[in-house]
């Protein structure tokens, strides 16, 4: 009897694991295709061997994509655009996270008249479709002299990012004991000292969530990048598109695959490094202590 149920359980487990493995393969297949094809000569792909391992392993497509591929008019490879994206994403993420934390701090611990209204408006800002702001934003950037520059993109992403980062930090700090802030006030700490010495040291998990979220969104953005940049300030996503779309000559699929992986690598890296904090941060509200 007991052995029967036991083997029943084991059968169930096996079916479950088999299904999971299948799903896993299904999800990993595209990555596999990208990686293998970025490591073989073009002739092998055009011969129809999309799924097979490279017969002749080569890193040449990577080198081409990085430094010599034709992007738009110049044969610069993706390198300068990768740099553009980095220069755009680092300040945009850092600033929107810091400002979001400050907003959350003020909205929860220094309540003022109209705080809920302002928070409501900020939330509303999160959900305005990108397309709606394209033209007003282009005009704005032109007026302040940031049009077509990486700094213009930083500005746009910063503005869009504050909504979500404020939402994250506000909800996190709402659960942070107000008595601590009051104790610090009595101890003589000022506005920024309390933020810096009392709140920020306890904000690790939510900061990680916020950084991952902002980094992924800003790095992967295409619409703003395509709309507000010049040739020399294009981010990686737009450059990748130009590489793939360029109509001259034969389509070098292996180079395209290598470029696509390059564009995806930073976000992947951020997830791997900070992923466990990400889960912990998302859980922070529900599980106390």
């Amino acid at each position: 009897m007991t052995t029967a149920t036991k083997s029943g359980v084991n059968m169930g487990r096996m079916v479950l694991y088999a299904a999971l493995v299948l799903f896993c393969i299904y999800y990993l297949l595209p990555l596999y295709v990208m990686v293998v094809n970025s490591l073989k000569p073009l002739s092998e792909i055009t011969a129809g061997g999309m799924m097979s391992l490279p017969g002749d392993w080569t890193l040449a497509p990577w080198a081409t994509a990085w430094s010599t591929a034709q992007i738009g008019v110049d044969a610069t490879g993706l390198k300068p655009y990768f740099v553009n994206s980095l220069v755009m994403v680092v300040p945009a993420v850092a600033l929107s996270t810091i400002l979001g934390a400050l907003n959350g701090y003020v909205l929860t611990k220094w309540e003022f008249k109209g705080a809920t209204l302002i928070f409501g408006l900020i939330l509303f800002g999160c959900f305005i479709p990108f397309q709606m702001v394209l033209i007003p934003m282009a005009r704005m950037l032109g007026l302040v002299g940031l049009a077509g520059s990486v700094w213009g993109l930083v500005f746009v992403h910063l503005v869009y990012g504050i909504g979500f980062s404020t939402l994250y930090f506000r909800n996190y700090y709402a659960a942070f004991p107000t008595e601590l802030v009051r104790a610090a006030q009595i101890d003589g700490a000022g506005f920024f000292t309390i933020f810096w010495r009392i709140l920020l040291p306890s904000s690790g998990p939510i900061a990680v969530v916020c950084i991952i979220w902002q980094f992924t969104n800003i790095w992967n953005d295409f619409l703003f990048g395509a709309s507000f940049s010049d040739f020399d300030s294009q981010p990686m996503t737009v450059a990748l598109n130009n590489l793939v779309q360029s109509s001259t000559g034969v389509k070098e699929y292996n180079v395209h695959f290598a470029g696509a992986i390059m564009a995806a690598l930073p976000t992947l890296l951020v997830y791997i490094v900070a992923g466990r904090y990400f889960v912990r941060g998302l859980m922070a509200g529900s599980v106390k202590g």
């Binding site: 004991p177 009051r182 104790a183 610090a184 006030q185 009595i186 101890d187 010495r197 040291p201």
Partner: protein, 369 residues
């Protein structure tokens, strides 16, 4: 003009007035306890003294200086919070020294103070731990230590013991009292525990519904409650409150009481203020220890009157036996000596010490005699 003066202070949140005009004057070295049920405005008043909440109207001054526009840090007060509010990311030492650091106290001086306080509260071995690694009682001590380094004019405590288990609470209560005797600093202490209030305070302000119902020494509050709320709230077991009729019996003012068996008893209750209430109903208030068995009655009282009444329940409590009977339709608890042989269902003589009895108006609930 006291040391800490609360002068017609009120607090409103929008249209809701949570603290009505309050006047309290505290002398230097006093231990004032604010006591009352949840939501009565105790914390609000304490936070107003601390400067964490603004005063809506009125004034609070310390040492004759109005505090209305003075920041919490500049009021020279120290506060211990209900949750202790220890900074979770700092060690015990960091917690204690944070305030001094903010005040710009030099490093050696800080070290000296920390050592001194750690010694006083016996937390020396905990200095390098984080608050998360401490027990409730230890956290409580650290919170007190943090307050002590300031050498404040006034200590403010907001229910500092309510998160501790019963035994520890009693121990810490004694320690706080000792500390007060040793330092002599003025203390304002919030609690909803009336026993804490009675044991710790030099004066008590009983609060309810945003009003100070009565301000007085523990003895005044206990013996002469200003109204039915104070009478019922302070003391454990609480004061018996039951309806009685004021009558004239043999030329003396007396209280006529309906007993549990349907009969009535008339007890002389000779107070000049009661003559005006003749023929009317009042609420009679008398503490359990003023209703005893005949031999347990206070020999110094000149107004002990015996009433035979049916016993409903007996509750032996070791040193005493609490005996419950019905009067005016309410359960009335009497405190008998433990060795009195009394059983439920008996009719038994209850000795009322009417010197300790008080009377309230049933409508206004205010004290009339």
């Amino acid at each position: 003009m006291g040391f800490l003066d609360i002068d017609q202070a009120t607090k409103s949140y929008g249209a809701v007035k949570v603290l009505h005009e309050t006047d309290i004057s505290v002398e230097e070295g006093e231990f004032l306890v604010l006591v009352g049920p949840s939501g009565c405005g105790k914390s609000t008043l304490l936070n107003m003294i601390a400067g964490l909440e603004e005063v809506t109207t009125g004034d609070i001054s310390i040492k004759g200086r109005s505090m209305n526009n003075v920041k919490p840090a500049e009021r020279n007060i120290a506060m211990v919070f209900q949750s202790y509010a220890l900074y979770p990311n700092m060690t015990v030492k960091g917690n204690i020294s944070f305030g001094m650091e903010m005040q710009g106290v030099a490093k050696e001086e800080r070290e000296r103070k920390i050592a001194e306080v750690a010694d006083l509260l016996q937390i020396g071995q905990l200095l390098d731990r984080k608050p998360g690694q401490l027990s409730g009682g230890q956290r409580q001590r650290v919170a007190m230590g943090r307050a002590l380094t300031r050498e404040p004019d006034v200590f403010l405590f907001d229910e500092p013991l309510s998160n501790l288990d019963a035994k520890l609470r009693v121990d810490m209560r004694t320690e706080i009292k000792k500390l007060h005797q040793k330092l002599g600093t003025t203390i304002v202490y919030v609690t909803h525990d009336q026993i804490e209030a009675l044991t710790l305070s030099t004066r008590i302000a009983v609060m309810f519904g945003g009003y100070v119902q009565q301000l007085g020494t523990p003895k005044e509050i206990y013996d002469n409650p200003a109204n039915m709320f104070v009478a019922g709230f302070m003391g454990s077991p609480s004061m018996n409150l039951f309806p009685a009729r004021i009558v004239k019996a043999d030329g003396v003012t007396a209280a006529e009481i309906t007993l549990g068996n349907g009969g009535t008893a008339t007890i002389p209750f000779d107070r000049p203020a009661l003559t005006a209430h003749e023929g009317r109903e009042i609420i009679l208030g008398i503490r359990p220890e003023a209703i005893t068995d005949r031999d347990g009655a206070d020999r110094n009282s000149n107004a002990v009157h015996v009433v035979d009444a049916p016993v409903e329940i007996t509750e032996p409590a070791g040193s005493d036996t609490f005996v419950v009977t019905q009067m005016g339709g309410k359960d009335v608890t009497a405190r008998f000596r433990a060795d009195v042989d009394v059983k439920a269902g008996d009719s038994f003589p209850f000795a009322f010490n009417m010197q300790k009895a008080v009377a309230f108006d049933p409508k206004t609930e205010d004290r009339i005699a």
